[in-house]
Symmetry: C2
Subunit: 225 residues, 2 copies
């Protein structure tokens, strides 16, 4: 059951809310429900599910593709205030690919069920239009990731990742294993370990069991330029 | 100047034509012009130009990204009857990446100038809606290419390329250099040459100065499965 504060949040979060008539607003509210995920949970698994459009009240979600052999490539991340549409990709006829989504922190979401969201889009062109715009935003994110992976030298990519993680968590210590870092940057563990060892030798980071500590930010930034 | 047959073609090619009023139809026709490109010409170069929406009457266009070091990765191809929208990406606020386009055969196009197409989209939601749908179609194409490049073993990728080229040209002989094949499959020339040599040793292809001849289709297909 939605609380008053949920309804207020929804009216603010959905940009086409003012384009809906009272009936459509009621219809939408009848098919939104709150849901929580714990850090590490899978939220969406390729074509296996199509839970719906996610309004992220709080939390961080990583969106990635997965090969048959289990290789992951991160496409982009979403967080507080973002709206996630590819978790409802089954309702978009022209989306023919599958993505995966994991909760990277505890997540508090509102979910609009796919089936009903599709109904709304089919008779309200503003809803459809907004949905398409969100997908195209993600297209730009994916192209950015693709250029990083295909074109950028690996030392630069790893340096950017460490720098971004440090900024995101507000800490100089990246508490991730080499295996996890490899997954996030779309590489192999051995490649990451080798490059981190090189960074350590260069006095850029210090490696420990707990993770990677950035010890010379200036040198790290120099790699990114 | 447009001929009667051009106008007939446009009315059929543009799916939202019937949603336009007479004034908009006139406006659109006033800003469409025919243009020809020869095989090998560059049609669109990243952020350098933004010629407009292309209606491909006849011809083949390759769309790719290009690194600072000159590495190319093919995203998708377009041909007769396709409408090319990323050549007008400057009018789409949420497209933040640049692509390149080359004519792979002689091309006969109709071009809707970007500036006027944007004007049309800004006051006609059906035009905007259709434009977004086209972009999302390309998003799916790009995801497919990305999965090929990042996840697929290289022998399989090369086999698929040779098989597709053979089907497209209707010939068992692929008249391309190893350098060109490398560009198309997003790899290095040395890698392509090594794999083609392996294919030759396996009796799948025969190599000559003129290109690559497929001599055992069954074996080639077996690599793709």
């Amino acid at each position: 059951m939605l609380k008053d504060e949920d309804i207020k949040y929804i009216a603010k979060a959905i940009p086409f809310w003012s384009e809906l008539n009272e009936e459509d607003k009621r219809f939408l509210l009848d098919h939104i429900f709150p849901v929580q995920y714990e850090k590490g949970n899978s939220i969406h698994s390729g074509s296996m599910d199509c839970i719906g459009v996610l309004l992220i009240r709080t939390g961080d979600i990583r969106v990635y593709i997965l090969s048959d052999e289990g290789k992951e490539v991160t496409l982009y991340r979403m967080s507080d205030g973002d709206i996630c549409i590819l978790s409802a990709s089954c309702i978009l006829d022209n989306i023919t690919f599958d993505v995966y989504m994991d909760a990277e922190s505890d997540c508090d979401l509102l979910v609009i069920e796919s089936k009903f969201y599709k109904q709304l889009c089919s008779h309200n062109i503003y809803a459809e239009n907004f949905t398409q715009k969100m997908v195209i935003d993600r297209f730009s994110d994916v192209m950015w990731a693709m250029e990083q992976i295909l074109f950028m030298s690996f030392d630069k990519r790893l340096a950017i990742f460490l720098s971004d993680e440090s900024a995101r968590t507000g800490s100089d210590v990246i508490e991730l294993t080499h295996e996890q870092i490899a997954k996030y940057v779309g590489s192999a563990r051995e490649v990451v370990s080798r490059m981190l060892k090189y960074f350590q030798e260069e006095g850029i980071v210090a490696l420990s069991r707990g993770g990677v500590k950035i010890v010379n930010k200036k040198k790290l930034k120099a790699l990114i330029k």
